[in-house]
Amino acid sequence: MTAGNKFLVGVFDDDDVLLKAVTKVRESGIRIHECYTPFPVHGLGDALGYKRSKLPIAAFMFGMLGTSLALLMQFYMMDIDWPMIIGGKNYSSIPTFFPVTFELTVLLSALGMVGVFMIISDLRPYGKAKVFDLRATDDKFIMAIDLAKNSISIDEIKQTLEGAGAIEVNEKRGQ
């Protein structure tokens, strides 16, 4: 968040109203900084013009890494480093490597994806929450507009927000 900038913060009390307001506000040429909602509002990302998350790709890559590492580890240990005959079978028998390979695929995929999610979303223990309105985690839907990035006058933006159904419009400084 752009610290110190002046923001206009529109407060909405319904997710459907917010969703329509986002489209309306964007159509009138105002750039929205971000919206804050107490629960995921479907279609909000599209309305704001966000691209689809690439996290599934991260999950797949980490999963493949898990598969490869698991297979490499098992073949190296059972076949190359210390080959042993167990139950008269081959040194390395692929079917018995399946469970560990599967588990490590899932483990690395999950941990890797969640790690990427935390980093790109700036989520970490003791991370400071940059909150415009404390009610955004309760029952209000917040739309923040960075005044420095918009050339339209404050009053006009205010009017647009109110016209779109905002119950309050406040001026706040970014943290």
Binding site: P38, W82, P99, V100, T137
Partner: protein
């Protein structure tokens, strides 16, 4: 967007608004703990302490303190392990598989069920860890670590090793899934917090969450993929636990039916434990509007289905023993039903096969008292199932001269009590300090399913004209 049928029963009753959800759930975290809570925690800490003596003696004197003998090398320890792991299956099933199937009734119960999963897996892990005798050396036996023997590695052909990977992966991924879901709710508590301590603690736990649209978008992607990963994972865990038995050559264990049979049994016992805990939590925390009779009925239906699968598995085992023509296999099952452990076998049959069938009667499956009693009966039955599989198969195998009986000692009992105390201590701590209901998810369905939904739109709290609203459109 999807459209919800008007005939569908509301998932949240009592005309709750989004703000009511916040208040109803956060209030439990914010208010001073009640006397009931202190008594409950004291009781479970009491069990923990009593049980700890048995754990201490097991570690100090060795597992000779248990009732194992050279015929029965596995008994209560693995019975309790499988029982706990099975209980730990409902949480991830509810949050992952029901998410993929878009079953929205999961939303009120998934948080507590996942917590239960995690605590049950911790309790389960106590048994293999203690059975190692010297668990501080356990890392060398369990993990592929280089060691002083010129790196004599662990055996990747062994199902016991697969179990190590399966259980630890399951625990880690379930914990991550649970925690990701908790972050937005911790943020809600943080933003309402009055005291400096709660603001700092929940501030630290909420990871700086502010509910931005971009983060929610990613959060949803993460939740969906984690659900996709957890679905095969939850099925793999009990499959691998069943391999511990199925890959051996003991009569009664060496069967290919074990994986599906164990998974069904795990879901069966897991839902029973969820019901036991949720019925109490619901009553004490007055969450009747969130966990409705409808929810209880849904869970009871899952109990009928999985209980019937388990029943069919028992009968299939008997049939296969006869049909295989293997004398040892036939004797193993004859001995289970009519041998010295007949009482355990028939307890199992009554509790697991007959009692859940009572849920076919609507009056019973919508009765809270009946559900509570039956949920406990099912858990007793599932404990006996594992006892029957393990002890009755081992105590009389191929060599009649080494036949023996198993006599548990107070240390067997003590370690079991220890894990029960551990489980309930964790659960009560969770119930006090964590949001017991997933607020963010419940809020997202409140408009579409709450009884009050049409009222809100009629009184016109929003400024949009009515034709622009989508009254039946819901989010999910």
């Amino acid at each position: 967007m999807e459209v919800t049928s008007a005939v569908r029963k509301p998932l949240v009753t009592g005309g709750k608004t989004v703000h009511d959800v916040t208040v109803d759930v956060c209030r439990r975290v914010e208010e001073k703990p009640t006397i009931t809570w202190f008594l409950a925690v004291a009781a479970s800490l009491g069990l923990l302490t009593v049980g700890f003596y048995a754990v201490f003696r097991t570690l100090w004197d060795g597992i000779g303190m248990w009732g194992l003998n050279k015929t029965i090398g596995w008994a209560w320890d693995i019975t309790n392990f499988v029982w706990w792991v099975g209980i730990g299956h409902a949480g991830t099933l509810i949050s992952a598989i029901l998410l993929l199937f878009r079953q929205r009734w999961r939303m009120s119960i998934n948080r507590a069920a996942e917590a239960m999963t995690i605590f049950a897996v911790i309790s389960a892990a106590m048994f293999p860890v203690l059975h190692m005798g010297r668990p501080w050396l356990g890392a060398y036996w369990n993990l592929p670590l280089p060691n002083t023997f010129g790196s004599l590695w662990v055996n990747f052909n062994s199902p016991l090793l697969w179990d190590v990977f399966a259980i630890s992966t399951y625990f880690t991924v379930s914990l991550v899934f649970w925690y990701i879901g908790l972050i937005p709710d911790f943020a809600t508590i943080r933003d309402r917090a009055q005291g400096i301590i709660s603001r700092t603690v929940y501030g630290a736990l909420s990871f700086g969450w502010n509910g931005s649209a971009r983060t929610w978008e990613r959060y949803e992607a993460v939740a969906l993929i984690l659900a996709g990963l957890c679905t095969p994972l939850v099925l793999s865990v009990h499959t691998i636990v069943s391999f511990d038995f199925a890959t051996s050559v003991i009569p009664g264990w060496h069967t290919t039916i074990f994986p599906p049979y164990f998974v069904a049994g795990a879901i069966f016992s897991g839902f029973a434990m969820v019901l036991t805990l949720m019925l109490i939590t619901r009553k004490v925390y007055k969450l009747e509007d969130y966990i409705t009779i409808n929810h209880i009925e849904m869970m009871n239906i899952i109990i009928i289905v999985t209980g019937s699968v388990v029943g069919v598995a028992y009968i299939t085992e008997l049939f296969m023993a006869w049909y295989s023509g293997v004398e040892y296999e036939q004797y193993a099952f004859l001995n289970r039903a009519t041998g010295p452990y007949w009482w355990a076998y028939w307890t199992m049959m009554t509790c697991n096969v007959i009692s859940p069938q009572l849920f076919w009667i609507k009056k019973i499956r919508t009765s809270i008292v009946a559900t509570f009693i039956l949920s406990i009966i099912v858990n007793i039955g599932m404990w006996f199932e594992r006892f029957v599989i393990i002890v009755t198969s081992l105590h009389r195998d191929y060599l009649p001269s080494s036949w023996a009986m198993f006599q548990p000692t107070i240390y067997d009992l003590g370690v079991y009590i220890f894990t029960i105390g551990l489980f309930f201590t964790f659960f009560f701590m969770f119930a006090k300090f964590f949001p017991v209901i997933n607020m963010a998810e419940v809020k997202s369905i409140i408009k579409a399913t709450s009884e009050k939904a049409p009222v809100v739109q009629e009184t016109g709290t929003t400024t949009l004209p009515e034709e622009e609203m989508a009254p039946t459109a819901s989010k999910n």
